[in-house]
């Protein structure tokens, strides 16, 4: 990977250069400020960076602002950003992930930890490249049958990348965020999920690109519905969106589901043939994250996921029962 590391502390840059040299499989470029980093990014346009390492606290332009600027560039919407910082307070963690960070490493760090994180990012880039190839294969006019090829089509369970939706992060970043949260206080934090109803039918009827657009539209509606609260959300695949909130807010899931569905009904969604889509969501239970260790927090996220999935299935069952029960005048 070609990595750009930005830190105002020359010792950190020396340490990173040394660690990367010892690891021996990456190329590191360093910058001492956000402005310097942006100059390097513009100058390297033809040979873009594969990964960024940003310090948070820097004079003039901090790492959060730098991440936002990088994410605003089309070619770096997906590029992993690893926050490398001594700031371990929750507000900094939240700000880092909200601005688009993929992972977060607390200083001081050891070479083994940094190497392991870089390996995870390398794996993420490889996985993402395969998914991007699938979408392009499905969209390509010279591959009209690509969407029917099970090897190249986006699978129902694939966590698709979604762009330009407020407070939405990719699923690996959400997992990293939760791991960081689990190290501190989770008082007042909770998780819940939404499941798109009849997702298998939508998936089976659509091309990969159409399905990807549908998921992006639903993500935008959910994000807008939660806009007055502090939250992070992520698409976990299979039509399920995981949300993590804090500050003691315990949402009324019935009311929230109605708000999302009302908004979906007002958002006219169509497939490529001009057919209007009837898209609605079901909401699962709220699961509190208080006093949970990392594994328990991940279990809580799974519980929220399963709860939304079950709510969607229960809704379908109730609709079927409605037609099966004999109607009396």
């Amino acid at each position: 990977m070609k990595i750009l590391a930005v830190d105002d502390d020359p010792i950190i840059l020396e340490l990173l250069s040394h660690f990367v040299e010892v690891a021996g499989c990456h190329q590191l470029v360093t910058a001492t400020s956000g402005r310097h980093a942006l100059d390097l990014v513009y100058a390297n346009e033809g040979a873009a960076f594969d990964c960024f390492l940003f310090d948070i606290q820097m004079p003039e332009m901090d790492g959060i602002e730098l991440t936002q600027k990088i994410r605003g560039m089309k070619q770096f919407k997906d590029t992993p950003v690893l926050m490398l910082t001594a700031m371990s307070e929750k507000r900094y963690i939240d700000a880092a992930f909200s601005s688009g960070a993929t992972d977060y490493v607390t200083k001081p760090f050891e070479i083994t930890e940094l190497t392991a994180r870089l390996q995870l990012i390398d794996d993420l880039i490889t996985t993402r490249r395969i998914k991007t190839d699938k979408i392009f294969a499905a969209q390509s006019p010279i591959a009209p049958y690509a969407s029917s090829d099970s090897r190249s089509a986006i699978q129902l369970h694939d966590p698709i990348s979604i762009y330009d939706v407020d407070n939405l992060v990719e699923y690996p970043a959400m997992e990293n965020y939760i791991r960081q949260l689990a190290r501190g206080s989770l008082f007042g934090s909770a998780t819940f999920a939404f499941a798109v109803r009849k997702i298998e039918e939508h998936h089976a009827a659509m091309s990969s690109a159409e399905f990807s657009f549908l998921i992006s539209d639903v993500a935008e509606v959910i994000s807008d519905s939660l806009a007055s609260h502090q939250f992070l959300m992520s698409y976990a695949g299979s039509g399920i969106f995981i949300c993590v909130t804090e500050s003691g807010w315990r949402p009324d899931m019935g009311a929230l589901m109605d708000a999302v569905n009302l908004s979906l009904s007002r958002t006219e969604l169509y497939d490529n043939s001009g057919q209007q889509l009837f898209v609605r969501v079901s909401a699962g239970e709220v699961v509190r994250l208080i006093w949970k260790c990392e594994n328990s927090v991940m279990e809580a996220i799974s519980a929220a996921y399963l709860s939304a999935d079950e709510a969607s299935a229960a809704h379908e069952r109730s609709m079927n029962d409605l037609w099966l029960v004999p109607q009396r005048a």
Binding site: P10, I11, I12, L15, E21, V22, P59, T85, A86, P108
Partner: protein, 119 residues
């Protein structure tokens, strides 16, 4: 050269540079601590603490990776106390101020020991 020896020789070089810089950084923290101590003006106190915090933040971020964990921990404690002060009301209570200066004093002493006896 093996990976371990390569890592060690590289770290030695960075450690030497860290200690060289520490002399300058320790003087910077001590100077701003002194100015904050002497000033009765809340704005002057805050700006000096902010300057000291920036330097402490850098030390806290690297000292542990270079084998100076104790110094890094002391720098971190000073930084956390200063952040508490800066996030609080304009006129903090004397207990917090005393705690900050006691910790800054410990930081300056530990830095001095490392600079004087680097091995």
């Amino acid at each position: 050269m093996s990976m371990v020896s390569q890592e060690l020789s590289g770290l030695d070089r960075i450690r030497t540079r860290f200690l060289h810089l520490l002399k300058e950084r320790q003087a910077n923290v001590a100077q701003h601590a002194m100015l904050a101590w002497e000033s009765d003006d809340a704005a002057t106190k805050r700006s000096n603490f902010q300057e000291a915090q920036m330097t402490l933040h850098q030390i806290a971020g690297t000292a542990g990776s270079l084998g100076f964990g104790d110094l890094g921990q002391t720098a971190r404690e000073c930084e956390d106390l200063i952040i508490t002060y800066l996030d609080g009301p304009a006129f903090a209570d004397n207990v917090l101020l005393n705690e900050i200066f006691t910790n800054l004093d410990a930081f300056v002493s530990k830095s001095q020991n490392l600079i004087s006896h680097p091995s």
